[in-house]
């Protein structure tokens, strides 16, 4: 029997506002609204968009051993994270295979961990399994938590307008408690688009009130703030080079293949550290690269990659699309390391037709806040 799809607290709002709903990671989610994904993408790059990402999972961690516990489970050092700040990290199995990527916010009274929807339950069980040896308590609070993102050059002004000017004072990767129309929200100056903006966490019971208050604010109306679906979320994250679980990262790769060793603190003895170091030392068999097609066509996930010289298969596409801001047909692929360097040429098989491609410098879109 199929498990029924989960609904975010805004499902009815999305349908009322012309969203096309699709199944995603066990949830029924808006893939796009009436104006289409390209328009949504461009709006976030030029003004601002609001995303319902309540499918994402949240775990709450408390206890005196929390810093040591996180340093053991997460590749990046969390014990060095300052209160009111957040950091990206990866969790790996002992063989270095990536189980998920996540964001950790260090708050005054707890640690707030944001994980991918598809992995929420398995991540929670992974954390729980290892919690026994530590003085920690971990709770999965995903069901009662709504999550929105407001992203784009106008996002901070919009959020200031609805929060009494609280947001612009939060630095990049900072987090703070705020009140929006009387509703308590945790706000992080984080995101997944390459634009400045925030991610908000609040109770599902009050999600619609806050969502509508943000959209109705005077600054939001002036900025034409609009809802953004999953299709544009994918192109917005692809251009600045952010990984997506099931594509650039998975159980099949380590942070070495996925170019995420920058998120590994090898001074700390995290799970998978030795295997990752060994892989780094030996050199991986495949490495992630970003390519653009030099002829027209749309590469897609699972397209095979061939060496142009001898026609040998050298890799596989994990993400592919027309990149709306870079205005190129582009993708990410895992290929043999010799072909992963900028300027390397290969061919992508798109439904039986070989299309010429060249490896380009990452990212295709430089984050606006850098």
């Amino acid at each position: 029997m199929e498990t029924p799809l989960k609904h975010t607290p805004l499902r009815a709002w999305h349908v009322e506002h012309g969203a096309k709903m699709v199944p995603f990671a066990g949830w029924e989610m808006p893939i796009q609204y009436a104006g289409g994904a390209l328009q949504e993408h461009r709006l976030v790059r030029t003004s601002a968009g609001i995303f319902d990402i309540s499918h994402m999972g949240q775990l709450e961690l408390r206890g005196s051993d929390a810093p040591a516990f996180l340093d053991y489970l997460v590749t990046s050092s969390m014990s060095t994270l300052e209160e009111g700040n957040s950091r990206y990290g990866v969790i790996c199995d002992t063989d270095g295979g990536v189980l998920d990527d996540l964001f950790v916010y260090r708050l005054p009274d707890k640690w707030w961990i944001v994980v991918n929807a598809a992995n929420t339950e398995s991540d929670y069980q992974w954390f729980r399994r290892h919690a026994a040896e530590y003085e920690v308590e971990i709770v999965n609070v995903s069901d009662g938590t709504a999550m929105f993102a407001v992203q784009g050059p106008a996002a901070i002004e919009i959020m200031d307008d609805v929060s009494g000017g609280r947001i612009s004072a939060i630095p990049r990767f900072g987090a703070a408690d705020c009140s929006i129309v009387g509703v308590h929200c945790l706000v992080g100056r984080t995101g997944y688009t390459g634009e400045d903006g925030v991610e908000l966490f609040l109770s599902t019971a009050e999600a619609r009130i806050v969502w509508e208050a943000i959209l109705d604010s005077e600054v939001a109306r002036r900025a034409d703030l609009s809802p953004i679906g999953l299709a544009a979320r994918d192109s917005l994250r692809f251009e600045p080079g952010f990984p997506l679980y099931g594509h650039e990262i998975s159980r099949e790769v380590t942070p070495v293949e996925a170019r995420l060793t920058w998120a590994c603190d090898f001074d700390s003895n995290f799970i998978g550290r030795d295997a990752i170091l060994a892989r780094k030392e030996a050199g991986p068999a495949q490495r992630l690269c970003t390519f653009t097609l030099t002829e027209r066509g749309v590469p897609r996930q699972d397209c095979e990659v061939f060496a142009d010289s001898d026609g040998r298969k050298i890799g596989t596409v994990v993400t592919g699309m027309f990149a709306p801001s870079a205005e190129v047909y582009a993708g990410n692929a895992f290929v043999e390391p010799a072909y992963s360097k900028v300027g390397a040429e290969f061919e992508v098989d798109i439904r039986g037709k070989r299309k010429a491609a060249v490896v380009v410098k990452r990212p295709l879109y430089k984050p606006a806040y850098k």
Partner: protein
């Protein structure tokens, strides 16, 4: 949603229109709306001969790639070159500037067997979930 009365339709959502002795073919408004933003259109070579029901090209949207099928058998006599630079024309004007190919039919009677606008509208209503 527009169901142009001057063209005939296929269950695979192409339309066909008689224009002198050629058949112009594109995809319906229903099809472009379901596909979403179109970012690439792959068309056949002029001079190629294909049978009714054979795939002649691919329309790719942000979400997916869809084959497009010949409404009648015949020779491809013209392709819409505008779509190479501006594939979004298919979204903007599916029955007009967004046409895909022109065919010189080898079996002109095949055209008569295609669906009318009313039949196609009824057919698409049956596809709604």
């Amino acid at each position: 949603m527009t169901f142009d009365k001057d063209v005939k339709y296929l269950e695979s959502h192409e339309w066909a229109r008689k224009d002198g002795d050629v058949i112009v073919c594109g995809i319906s408004d229903y099809a472009q709306d379901s596909l979403g933003d179109i970012v690439f259109v792959e068309l056949p070579e002029v001079g190629q001969t294909l049978k009714k029901g054979e795939a002649f090209g691919v329309v790719e949207s942000v979400k997916a790639a869809s084959d497009v099928y010949m409404p009648v058998s015949g020779e491809i006599v013209e392709i819409n070159g505008v779509l190479e630079e501006t594939p979004e024309t298919v979204n903007e004007d599916p029955f007009g500037d967004g046409w895909l190919i022109k065919i010189k039919p080898s079996e002109p009677s095949e055209y008569d067997g295609l669906m009318s606008a009313d039949d196609y509208k009824t057919y698409t209503e049956g596809l709604e979930d």
